[in-house]
């Protein structure tokens, strides 16, 4: 399991646009870089990130080797009702990780 850092508000007013920041510890090996023995290191990156709000996808990103190591993303979503935000990352070599954050929305 890779370490993740998620900055999402715990409470919000309905209709408010919330800023969410997510970071995951991952080397994002490009597949173009020689290793210590001179051989090209095989590609190992995260290819997709998605954020779902109560099961509905509100933001997603397709990533490439041109993303910096420990991919960091900032995006926004509208607070509609209390629920769960699910953050999932998928990548090479069967990498998959899911984190959740609970959100309480007041009227």
């Amino acid at each position: 399991m890779a370490r993740t850092l998620i900055s999402a508000p715990k409470t919000a007013k309905a209709g408010e646009v919330m800023e969410i920041k997510v970071l995951i510890a991952h080397p994002m090996e490009t597949g173009f870089r020689p290793g210590p023995n001179g051989q090209i290191l095989p590609r190992d990156i995260i290819t997709r990130f998605a954020c779902t709000y109560d099961g509905e996808e509100v933001f997603a990103a397709d990533l490439s080797p041109a993303m910096a190591a420990n991919p960091f993303l900032t995006f926004t979503t509208v607070a509609t009702r209390s629920g769960t935000l699910t953050f999932s990352w998928e990548g090479d070599n069967g990498f998959a990780q899911t984190e959740t954050a609970d959100l309480t929305v007041s009227a």
Binding site: R33, F59, A60, A66, M67, A68, P71, F72
Partner: protein, 158 residues
């Protein structure tokens, strides 16, 4: 041909000169083969546009003009859009000119995104032009570009 000039000398010298010029060219061609060219970027953009034309404006691409370390370059894309069901940004794609591959990232947005504003960190292998294109729900495409100077490149070096 005079008896004082041995046959073929001038031709040999010419050939030698050509070989000297051609060898570094061939080497240069090999070393750049793993690098996306402006043509590759244009191809990737054409695939993303799918036949449509991108207009300039509505989208803002924020990058520092001078970057010390290409391994982590902050990038912000903002699109002017009310982000309603009827009018919102569907996708934002970021392309580069000189990394090994022309595509950087594609962001998928929905009306529930609230604002079309995405920040991330990217890698840049060289000083180059970055292009961001947004696809709106009405099928129009808007583009913006930024030039970045990189002093320490990413991707290629270990």
């Amino acid at each position: 041909m005079t008896p004082f000039e041995p046959a073929g000398t001038r031709r040999d010298v010419l050939h030698l000169g050509l070989a000297l010029v051609a060898a570094p060219l061939a080497l240069a061609a090999r070393s750049t083969s793993a690098v996306a060219t402006p043509d590759a970027m244009a191809g990737a953009i054409r695939t993303f546009l799918g036949g449509a034309q991108a207009q300039t404006g509505r989208i803002k691409l924020d990058l520092p003009p001078l970057v010390e370390n290409g391994n982590s370059v902050p990038l912000t894309v903002t699109v002017e859009s009310p982000m309603t069901l009827g009018e919102h940004v569907r996708r934002i794609a970021v392309f580069n000119e000189k990394n090994p591959q022309p595509s950087v990232a594609t962001f998928h947005l929905t009306p529930r995104s609230g604002r079309a504003n995405v920040t991330t960190r990217i890698r840049l292998a060289d000083s180059q032009k970055i292009v961001a294109i947004a696809e709106l729900s009405d099928g129009t495409f808007w583009s913006a570009q930024a030039d970045v100077i990189v002093t320490l490149a990413a991707c290629i070096e270990s």
